[in-house]
Amino acid sequence: MHEFRVQVGPAAFRIGSQWKRPLDQLAELYRDYPVPAIPDYTVRLEPVSLLRRFVRQSVAINGDYMLPDAAPLPLAQGLLAAEMAMNLQMALGWRRHLLLHASAVEKDGKALIMTGQSGSGKSTLAAMLGHRGWRFMGDEFVLVDLDSGDAVPFPRLISLKNQAIGAMLATALDGRFGPLMPATPKGDIRHLVPPSDAIAHMARPAKPALLLFPSFGFDPAVRDVAPSEVFMRLTQASTNYVALGERGFTTLTRFVQTVPARAIDYRDGIEAEALVNQLWAECA
């Protein structure tokens, strides 16, 4: 078993693999991240069967927390398998913060949080803003502190999908991209190392100041969202709200009562950035 360890925000991972290559790719992309001594979660990339260790190599995702019906991936997508497995540990295991399926960026100690269905553009928006004057905090999970209500960063590798890959190639630095993985179950995927300030300050939380529900592909518009709807949508965006019990309820209630929320529609990054700047000036 080859081994790789990495600390992302407050979470520490140990990844074991029967093959060396996916771990070499991880080590290269996570080169600036700390290495933990005692990991929170263990992930294993293993052959589906002994035969599949050598022929048409196929990676099964195992670890502390597993989905019974997780489909194996070809070895060429081993890096994606590792990232999916780390996300899975967070989604199923994390109990130290209220976990929201959302992206976030920071400015002046305040956090802009974006949540929505897959395809809403929340991940691409965070990646873009993170390269245009904001500090990138994460494109997958936002961790809300159960005592202070602060947003805690989880700046794992940015997972770019389909058209977002081309858009970010024009924006981000060379040498920070992982290999292009075409035609994965999630479309074309290419990982991007977050900007260096995102990694350097990954232990620094921010006060949530604005919550956006972006929708990509519509004429630009801004709508208010009622607190009751925000609450319901965030319970759905959280994987551990129920498990945290009363503390989850208290934390989410405070979040909804103190953070202004808007839904925005946009057709491209320029429109989105203009809307974000306008709302940030009004609300945050």
Partner: protein
Amino acid sequence: MTHDGMILVDALRDPSGTARLDPAGWTALLTIARVEQLLGTLARRLSGLPVPDAVSDILAEARVNAEYQRRSALWEADCARRALVDYSGKVVLMKGTAYVAAGLKAGEGRHIGDLDIMVAQCDLPQVETALLKAGWEWVKDDAYDDAYYRDHMHELPPLIHKERDRMIDVHHTILPLTARPRPDAAAMLADAACLANGLYVLSPADMLIHSAAHLFADGELDGGLRNLWDIHCLIDEWADDVFWAELARRAAQHQLLAPVERAVRLSHRLYGTEIPDPWRRWHRQDKHYVRRLIARDNWGRGTHKFTRLIFYIRSHWLRMPPMMLARHLWVKWRKSA
């Protein structure tokens, strides 16, 4: 290292011994505890002891999880109670839910999955109807599986609640009907004790016997270290001369003396449970059981593939007579091919 399960056994038996662990040792311990579903239990055992900061965070998380599981288990039991409010027979909670509902040490920090209840066999149609009416649905839509459960198993086919996504297993006895021992289910129900909420739990001896039967007379020993920890806690909770005499008498009545004796011996051997001398006679096959129970490496993977295979075959052998086993495996193979 292929016997790393011992690192977990040692930590549960003597928590202060973890002071000697280095980071690699802690990593192995936490990984194995998680895969054996004993992390919550370990967190309880290590309460108040000095541990590295990273470990302390992981154990705190495990306590939150255990509390969540306790809360959901009790809630699910109450949902079943309300669904069966018009049923006049006893509804007996079993396994993890019973331990937390009765406030037993075995329930502290314990992982709890499905809800297991037991009712009288003759009342199964009434209970089944009430549960279906309250929103539970069949998991299996396969006619062979359904018929197999109804004809040969000790429980109804599993039901899942359509809104809460939680499973319930409705037992009418504690072993498959095809197994050789025939436990006295009527006596178990008759002696079950009433809780404040109107639900029941098995008598102390029967509770331990059920746990031992589950461990050594039924399955392939998956999750065995947790089951054995339950047995350790149950003995610790109740052991006195009267209990030991009752346990032996009752186990014989249920035709389960051998698995109960083995459970008691192995609990003593692995977890240091105090047991009377007559129960300590070591059996030459016990070492194979120990080997199977602790077969984990420091990545949490099962080791000793051959020992595991033998116990897998044994689990089917115990469950059904040879010709029936052959037919069952044939049908299952046909469907998978």
